[in-house]
Amino acid sequence: MENKDKLSRAGLLAPAAAIVLGCALVALLVSTFMLCSVMIQQFLPLILFAAFLLLAFFAVRMRWAKTHVWLFYTLCAVFAVACGFVIRAVF
């Protein structure tokens, strides 16, 4: 029973995070539009989202990604930080 409640609490974090991260992406899109003058930089949030969505769709098919969900998201975050540094170096 306790385990079920724990799972329910963790399961509710995903929709909450998805909603807020979606809004954060919109906010970042507004920021890049105002701060950058190059079109590719202005649309970078959308470009990144499309690229990462494609990547993630294939990644979630892997068995370990289903069994170790937290590890999967942690690796996603680490990969994203690395991408952020690459973007910073490029622009």
Binding site: S8, R9, L12, L13, A14, P15, A16, A17, A18, I19, V20, L21, G22, C23, A24, L25, V26, A27, L28, V30, S31, T32, M34, L35, L44, P45, L48, F49, F52, L53, L55, A56, F57, A59, V60, R61, A65, V69, F72, Y73, C76, A77, F79, A80, V81, C83, G84, F85, I87, R88, F91
Partner: protein, 351 residues
């Protein structure tokens, strides 16, 4: 045939996981790009804090209503999304707009050229850990009147002073010393530009210069252009100046924001970080200012200057110009002549 419904059932959570992972990666990558950047750091930090706080808020709302009916849950999710969007956009606008108002930079070339002029002095004022740097042109011997200039958001002291010296326009201020110190973050001045730092810098500069041996503290004329008119007004309201000259002044920061995007009305005024309410400072200004505003100025609306002009208790000398763009005030011979006459009158050069 039997496996089809099972595949569809697995596809949905897999797709949702992929969307969540993609959102997480996009936001983290962009924040990693934003946070070390000097210009976007405050925006990145504000979005990061708001995202964490709103995720916790949404999770708490979902958790507390986990036993509610399906319709209620859907409504709550829509409401949570709307609140999150409104909050994140508000935070973004609040931190983003000031970056569109200021353009801090340095001009080492102009500074190096200026250093060669014998009557030009580089100034460095240190107060309370803050460093304000700028330049002063000496045009008179001994204790002389001073024109203290506060420039526009794109101006830096070395550049403007060099222009005045090379063009000969400095002769409009004959008999006076002329000083222009850079805003925080501009030139060699420390800090970052913002309403509070600009106001503080204005008072620091006035106080420091008025104690100099070569400055007659009773004959300091404040001079502001565009963004600097707010600072000049603030200093004039809090210190005793001999005169006040304003090129393209604005009544308050709301007018400047609405020139960029005309949405800052009603409750949205709370999103304006740079309020700089010159119209309120004007109520405490004792001198009668000289104001120039052009109906063809696209940056500072003429109506805003006019509104400010009506707020001075001692009245003002308001000159309505035509055909001058925002950066053309300094180029107009007629305007400079008028300024010269006003300054000569308020500091009583004959004395």
């Amino acid at each position: 045939m039997e496996s089809a419904p099972e595949q569809t059932g697995q596809l949905r959570p897999r797709f949702l996981h992929a969307v969540l992972a993609a959102l997480l990666m996009s936001v983290v990558a962009l924040l990693t790009w934003f946070l070390p950047s000097q210009r976007a750091q405050s925006i990145g930090l504000a979005i990061l804090i708001a995202t964490v706080a709103l995720t916790l808020f949404c999770w708490l709302v979902f958790f507390l209503t986990r036993h509610a009916k399906s319709g209620v849950k859907t409504c709550l999710r829509i409401l949570a999304a709307l609140i999150s969007l409104a909050m994140l956009l508000s935070v973004t606008v609040y931190t983003l707009a000031p970056t569109q108002l200021f353009y801090p930079r340095n001009d080492e070339e102009s500074a190096a050229t200026l250093a060669a002029y014998p009557n030009v002095e580089q100034l460095t004022i240190e107060t309370g850990g803050r460093v304000v740097s700028g330049w002063m042109i000496h045009q008179a011997e001994g204790k002389a009147p001073l024109v203290l200039y506060f420039g526009g958001n794109g101006e830096i002291a070395a550049n403007r002073i060099l222009y005045l010296v090379e063009s000969g326009d400095i002769s409009a201020f004959a008999g006076c010393n002329f000083a222009f110190l850079d805003y925080p973050g501009y030139g060699l001045s420390s800090g970052s530009p913002g309403e509070a730092s600009l106001k503080q810098m204005g008072l620091d500069v006035f106080d420091a210069l008025s104690t100099r041996k070569d400055v007659d503290a009773d004959r300091i004329v404040l001079f502001g252009f565009s963004m600097g008119t707010g600072v000049a007004n603030y200093v004039a309201a809090n210190r005793t100046a001999a005169g006040l000259v304003l090129f393209a002044p604005y009544a308050d920061g709301y007018d400047l924001y609405n020139t960029m995007v005309p949405v800052f009305v009603g409750p949205l005024r709370a999103l304006v970080a740079f309020k700089m309410e010159s119209i309120r400072f004007a109520e405490s200004v004792q001198v009668k200012p000289l104001i120039f505003s052009s109906i063809d100025d696209k940056m500072v609306p003429f109506a805003s200057s006019e509104r400010l002009a009506n707020a001075y208790p001692a009245g003002c000398e308001f000159t309505r110009l035509q055909g001058l763009g925002h950066n053309d005030y300094w180029k107009s011979y007629g305007v400079l002549l008028h300024v010269s006459q006003y300054i000569a009158e308020v500091i009583d050069l004959g004395k």
